[in-house]
């Protein structure tokens, strides 16, 4: 009995020492080494791919923003995005999805409302948006709630409104959207997309020039 207790004790002691040594290797040296290399070689990316406009940081090209006015291109809905509830000393962005199922009545309501709003917002005096034109990404929330992109179809849908509100021609704005459309990587990986923040920065610059 005494023997087995001391054996167990010795084994747990070895386990603890193993854990501490491996914590030093994988929990201290490894992340610091990766950080060192990352900061030296990919400084901007390692720090969040910040985007500047007029010399000021206006966000990250990877993180979507809400509340662009109707003069700008709109991002996807973000019903899953939350604010921190546990740690209240900061106002952190809490990423997340709605997790509503495909047959959830609330989600059905949200999708219908979002579609009606997209149709209403983007119809101008001489351009009527049909509900059937509205792509799926315009009426659904993303997985992170921080999706920086919209589909080219959704961007295209907003061109007339944006052109009108900025005093630009439709052709000018269409060209802008085209320039900011990324195709699939290597032609087949992922989906074509338009980065909303970068597009709006370019739009602001274009509107200021003309």
């Amino acid at each position: 009995m005494n023997n087995s207790v001391s054996n167990t004790g010795r084994l747990l002691w070895a386990g603890l020492r193993a854990l501490l040594v491996l914590t030093l290797v994988t929990g201290v040296i490894y992340p610091l080494a990766v950080t060192g290399v990352a900061q030296a070689l990919f400084h901007d990316k390692a720090n969040g791919s910040e985007v500047k406009a007029d010399g000021k940081v206006v966000g990250s090209s990877l993180i979507g923003q809400q509340d662009y006015g109707l003069a700008y291109f709109q991002p996807r809905p973000a019903k899953g995005l939350g604010e921190n509830s546990v740690n209240t000393q900061y106002k952190l962005i809490l990423s997340g999805a709605t997790n509503r199922s495909a047959d959830n009545p609330e989600l059905v309501t949200w999708v219908k409302a979002a579609r009606a709003k997209v149709v209403k917002d983007n119809s101008t005096a001489d351009y009527k948006v049909e509900p059937s034109q509205v792509p799926a990404d315009a009426v659904t929330s993303s997985g992170s709630g921080l999706d920086p992109d919209i589909s080219p179809a959704y961007a295209e849908l907003q061109v007339h409104r944006v052109a009108e509100r900025n005093g630009l021609s439709v052709a000018q704005v269409e060209k802008l959207v085209e320039e900011h459309t990324d195709g699939r990587t290597l032609g087949f990986i992922g989906e074509p997309r338009v980065n909303v923040l970068e597009l709006n920065i370019a739009l602001k610059a274009l509107a200021a020039k003309s």
């Binding site: 994988t26 990766v34 966000g59 740690n87 809490l94 990423s95 199922s101």
Partner: protein, 554 residues
């Protein structure tokens, strides 16, 4: 090019990359666990542990090593979270509550990475990098070590010795996981994943004002999270978060990372038992199920049945534009057929049948290709069951790889496959019968039941993904899911190591004309059939109440 074709091409590209890595990585891993040379850094580590890496262990000693190391791991991670409030580098985050700290500690030590907390608002630098990420490495290394011990049981004869646990576990970290994760982390940063210690800081916004970000060592954790089939996200949105998974390429790369060790281990197995063809048969079984599931998932997600998705015109709820439906489907299947549980899109908002496919993937026992190590030993157990069934049909004593599958072996295999279904069905049943757990549901009806069934399936099989509408941060769920994770991890390991010990003691049976050829397509077919039938019979009633009811109604 349409999205369906692009999805298929991505699947083919992924298969090509995995095929390229298969022989070099698989053969390398066999060498890692066969050589008797130690690296200098490993000798230092053994000195630190105070263990002799050359002592051979019987199965009981090997198991004691696994259990002692894991028990210490749970305790250490628990204390680290409980002390977070006074640790430096905690960004002002407070100590985690006892029930949640228990759940999280068990979760990361068991390679599950179920998370009932929100990463960006609960865990500071120290807990993330020196606690959670460390377990991402060592829990994966423990899984591979146990699988290698079982393979040695087949490969060795007339000995009870299965190798040395400390040496196997340390080599897994130093020679496989650490180098792989380092390269992968740099690739991820080069594509935009963040890696800094800036903590919480303000960043300006386009329309004025600012947003608060929580920066951290994300890429280094993301790399091992996928490579070690762990799955616990730095952020709440997991691999859907652009800082964890910034581009379509990183998405495909992360899927590659989480599949490459489990698939390549079949090569390691083949090399170590002296017949790479036996490895190919196991690989073919895994690949058949994986490809089949991906095809089914793409079909149902592109068809986007379900009222909300029909109105929206596509299954984009919970999915990112840069990944789209195709790539998200491949990720969802791969993460639930391995023990990863990372998500790049939210399974709860998939079509009813799509959600069912993710659940069924876990219910198969995560063996196609499964977690690092756990996938291989799980699949070898199923191979034993399949050989046994075939033996019954022709009235011969079953054999596998020259070892007799006798009463003791089949009892251990049967115990193994009973553990997780018992945990899932009993816990889910009790949770449904009690009055309070159902208050955690976000959705009602069949999908609400699916949220709870998914949670216990994910925990008992050590997956960690969720129908995340379920509010799992309650004492009931933190405690019972924690127990399901611990029992679902370590009970099967007991049976696997006992089986390994019993196989290693046997003398090999010479192959005769009547021996079932387990390296032929016929056996692959038998094995796939056995897996699907056994899982189907076990879980069909539960699946019928949840995802099937939802899927067929829409």
């Amino acid at each position: 090019m349409g999205p369906v074709l692009a999805g298929v091409l991505q699947l083919l590209a992924l298969m090509g990359a995995l095929a390229l890595a298969y022989i070099p990585l698989g053969t390398y891993m066999a060498k890692v666990y066969s050589t008797d040379k130690h690296w200098r850094v490993e000798k230092w580590i053994y000195k630190g542990i105070g263990a002799n890496p050359d002592t051979e262990m019987r199965w009981t000693a090997y198991l004691r090593g696994v259990l002692a190391f894991s028990a210490v791991g749970v305790l250490f991670l628990y204390l680290l979270q409980r002390l977070q409030g006074v640790l430096p580098g905690s960004l002002g985050f407070q100590a985690i509550d006892p029930d949640q700290a228990f759940n999280t500690a068990v979760s990361f030590v068991t390679n599950t990475n179920w998370q009932s907390y929100y990463g960006e608002q609960a865990m500071g630098h120290v807990v993330q990098t020196a606690g959670l990420a460390v377990q991402n490495f060592v829990s994966a290394a423990v899984g591979i070590a146990v699988a290698v011990a079982l393979v040695r049981g087949f490969a060795r004869s007339r000995t009870g010795e299965l190798g040395n646990f400390w040496s196997d576990m340390v080599r897994g970290v130093t020679r496989i996981l650490l180098p792989g994760a380092f390269i992968a982390a740099i690739v991820l940063v080069a594509c935009g994943a963040i890696q800094n210690f800036s903590g919480i800081h303000e960043v300006g916004q386009f329309m004025g004002g600012s947003q608060q970000w929580n920066g951290g060592a994300v890429a280094s954790q993301e790399a091992i999270k996928e490579f070690g089939t762990n799955g616990g996200g730095y952020f709440n949105a997991n691999s859907a978060h652009p800082f964890e998974n910034p581009t379509p390429f990183t998405n495909l790369f992360e899927i590659f990372l989480l599949l490459v060790i489990p698939f390549s281990l079949t090569r390691t197995f083949g090399v170590m038992v002296g017949s790479v063809k036996q490895g190919y048969a196991i690989l073919a079984t895994m690949a058949t199920i994986w490809v089949g599931f991906v095809a089914l998932m793409m079909w149902t997600e592109f068809a986007h049945h379900g009222p909300a998705l029909q109105i929206a015109g596509g299954a984009m709820e919970g999915k990112e534009v840069r990944f789209g439906v195709g790539s998200s489907s491949i990720f969802a299947v791969s993460t639930t057929l391995t023990s990863t549980g990372a998500v790049d899109s939210f399974h709860s908002s998939f079509t009813g049948l799509g959600g069912g496919i993710t659940m069924l993937g876990m219910m198969l026992g995560e063996i196609a290709p499964g977690g690092t190590g756990s996938g291989l030993y799980g699949m070898l157990i199923m191979a034993i069951i399949a050989v046994f069934i075939a033996g019954l049909m022709v009235g011969r004593t079953p054999e596998y790889l020259g070892k007799k599958i006798g009463t003791r072996e089949i009892k251990l295999a049967a115990c193994y496959i009973l553990v997780t279904p018992a945990l899932v069905l009993v816990f889910a049943g009790v949770a449904m019968a009690l009055p309070t757990p159902v208050h955690s549901m976000t959705n009602s009806g069949a999908h609400g039941f699916s949220e709870i069934l998914y949670a216990y399936t994910s925990a008992a099989n050590n997956n960690g993904s969720a129908f995340a509408g379920l509010n799992a941060d309650t004492q009931w769920f933190n405690t019972t899911l924690g127990l399901a994770m611990a029992l679902g991890r370590f009970l099967p390991m007991v049976f696997v190591l006992a089986l390994a010990g019993s196989l290693a003691e046997q003398r090999p049976v010479p192959e005769t004309a009547g021996t079932l050829r387990t390296n032929k397509p016929l056996f692959v077919g038998l094995l796939v059939g056995a897996i699907l039938i056994i899982t189907g019979l076990t879980y069909f009633p539960a699946l019928a109440l949840g995802p099937l009811a939802e899927g067929l109604a829409s």
